[in-house]
């Protein structure tokens, strides 16, 4: 308990970073290379703060409206950028994030200009955030099992093939913007309620790098990656003092090394190991079956079934 109360800020940060990282990860899982999550976060945080301070709204109403607003902006952004893919989409979404920084810098008394907004006192507590994260993770688990997961993989790995199989690729991409907007907005709204301040500096390029670091090192394939990454990068500076001093340099190096050696992240390493073990086992099963069975037809159908099992387990 003592440990918990001394580190409450870090626990908060971890949970907020998890939400933000998931907001980057969902589009990536659908092959949409978008960094706009930072922008949604900014919209969520700033609009909550403005609604609460200027209009005297309660935390929950402000959070709801801010999240919906971020989601709507995300959806519109998805429509506008529908023609772009790959690098162009990545850079356009970075431009979107940076435009928002310019806008809040010029927002006058509403956004507080370069100083930002402070003194936003909400009624939201840590356990609300924890509950929200658990609900989000539970919902995301549904997208990582069975049919939906295979559709996600197909849309990412081969959009042409996916659409020829009857998967509506365009709708899935729009959906990814929608979910990303909701998660990013929610992260921002929780952040302003728990931290009470927001400034243009905190929604700049540094946050893009942090979110990316978390996802690249943790892994893109599953929410587990976002959780692992968030835990590593929020707690590392606390656990190792020298990391705090050299934070940016170490993070930069870690991102490069991860991009070179483990493009799938830590989760990717586990998946690969699991897959290798499984395909080895399946191969030996196929050999046994073919040795035991004399009948041609039966042999074929059995090994086909085994192979299918291997694919759907992946």
């Amino acid at each position: 308990m003592n440990f918990f109360s001394t580190n409450i800020i870090l626990v908060e940060n971890t949970l907020i970073v998890i939400l933000l990282a998931l907001s980057i990860q969902i589009p990536l899982r659908l092959g949409v290379f978008s960094f706009a999550a930072i922008g949604y976060y900014a919209i969520g945080a700033y609009s909550s703060a403005i609604l609460m301070l200027e209009f005297g709204w309660g935390s929950w109403e402000a959070m709801f409206v801010a999240t919906v607003f971020a989601t709507v902006v995300a959806y519109l952004l998805g429509l506008v950028l529908a023609r772009l893919t790959g690098l162009y989409l990545g850079m356009a979404t970075i431009a979107f994030d940076l435009i928002l920084v310019v806008i809040v810098l010029n927002g006058g008394s509403l956004t507080g200009g370069p100083v930002g907004i402070f003194g936003v006192l909400g009624s939201i507590e840590l356990w609300h955030l924890a509950a929200a994260v658990i609900i989000v993770l539970a919902l995301l688990t549904l997208t990582e099992r069975g049919k939906l997961a295979r559709r996600f993989d197909a849309v990412r790995e081969d959009p042409q093939l996916a659409s020829s199989m009857g998967i509506d690729v365009v709708s899935y991409r729009r959906l990814s913007f929608l979910i990303s907007g909701a998660l990013g907005g929610l992260a921002g709204a929780f952040a302003i309620n728990l931290r009470t301040t927001i400034s243009p500096e905190s929604i700049g390029f540094g946050l893009v790098v942090l979110g990316l670091t978390v996802i690249i090192v943790g892994g893109q394939a599953s929410w587990v990656g976002a959780v692992i990454g968030a835990c590593i990068f929020v707690w590392l500076p606390k656990l190792l003092d020298f990391v705090g001093d050299w934070e940016e340099i170490i993070y930069g190096m870690v991102v490069v090394l991860a991009a070179i050696f483990i493009p799938g992240g830590i989760v990717g390493l586990f998946l690969e190991a699991k897959h290798r073990r499984q395909s080895k086992r399946n191969r030996s099963v196929v050999e046994q079956v073919s040795a035991l069975l004399a009948g041609e037809d039966e042999h074929e159908s059995r090994s086909a079934a085994v192979n299918e099992g291997a694919i759907s387990d992946r």
């Binding site: 690098l87 162009y88 356009a92 979107f96 310019v102 190096m253 493009p263």
Partner: protein, 296 residues
């Protein structure tokens, strides 16, 4: 009015020198080098460290900055981008991993320079070069402005000509169109990629030193903003066209100058970000670009 135009052209030449290297690398060997901005800054930073100790004439400083830029750029290519390309499972994922790796690399020199300068601006004032201002009518021109304009004109024009006429330029364009066929035709992609990265880095270093003398100081973070601006200039003109980069840089500088003279100045950065957005939505292939049809 003429003064504004001249300032815009100077700014445009700086953008051009910076964007040329980036566009050359991206348009031919397909690497969007996110570390280009921090190479620009760090090359200037190293020249600043040297110029602090020894008083040097400006041409020597420019050569040092260009050389450091080239070395850093080659190091990034050999240590990060080549391994990524070797290990990546396809072209598409290689592109994205290179962008991500570049973002990681970019953070390192910026953090080092920030620590060393305590985030203060640094300049190249300690040289035997003196900025002189000539007044012609009511237009003020400094000698460094003339140098920047000259460098932009010569290097921009020269590079466009070289790409079009020389055998290496042809080889580079061939890689840009289809690198597999190009290597069947006997083009050594690896070596050409290194040379292109070196050239891009040298241009970035040169732009950094010139800009620093012109503004008298830059901050460690200035590379990031420039990177986004160069990206705007490239997509504006259309990837794969040197004429496009020249046009894009000038249009960007002119519109920024226009905003700067008509507003309080805090909206200047929104110009480049807005332009990226507008162009990518309205005409993704840029003004000079060819249409590249990709379905889904």
């Amino acid at each position: 009015m003429i003064q504004d135009l001249l300032n815009a052209l100077t700014l445009g030449s700086i953008y051009l020198l910076f964007a040329l290297g980036m566009a050359l690398v991206w348009g031919t060997i397909g690497i969007l080098n996110f570390a280009h901005g921090s190479i620009f800054m760090f090359a200037t930073f190293i020249s600043y460290l040297i110029a602090e100790r020894i008083v040097l004439p400006l041409p020597v400083i420019l050569v040092i900055a260009a050389a450091v830029g080239a070395i850093l750029s080659v190091a990034v290519q050999v240590l990060a981008f080549q391994p990524i390309m070797r290990r990546a499972k396809n072209q598409h994922s290689a592109e994205l991993q290179i962008l991500i790796g570049g973002i990681g690399i970019a953070a390192v020199p910026i953090a080092i320079a920030q620590r060393a300068t305590l985030s203060n601006p640094f300049g190249l004032g300690n040289s035997s070069f003196q900025v002189q201002i000539y007044e012609i009518g009511d237009v003020r021109v400094s000698n460094i402005m003339i140098m920047i304009l000259f460098a932009g004109l010569v290097l921009g024009g020269g590079l466009a000509w070289w790409i079009k006429v020389s055998r290496q330029g042809l080889a580079l364009r061939a890689i840009g169109v289809n690198d597999e066929v190009a290597s069947i035709m006997g083009i050594n992609k690896q070596r050409l990629a290194l040379a292109t990265m070196a050239l891009g880095g040298a241009l970035a270093g040169l732009a950094g030193a010139l800009l620093t003398v012109y503004l008298s100081a830059i901050t460690p973070e200035s590379g990031d903003a420039l990177l986004i601006k160069a990206f705007a200039a490239i997509v504006l003109g259309g990837l794969g066209s040197i004429a496009g980069v020249i046009a894009g840089s000038l249009v960007l500088a002119l519109s920024e100058t226009l905003v700067l003279t008509h507003t309080s100045g805090t909206w200047v950065n929104a110009v480049s970000f807005g332009l990226i957005f507008l162009i990518l939505v309205v005409r993704p292939q840029g003004i000079f670009g060819r249409k590249n049809v990709v379905r889904t």
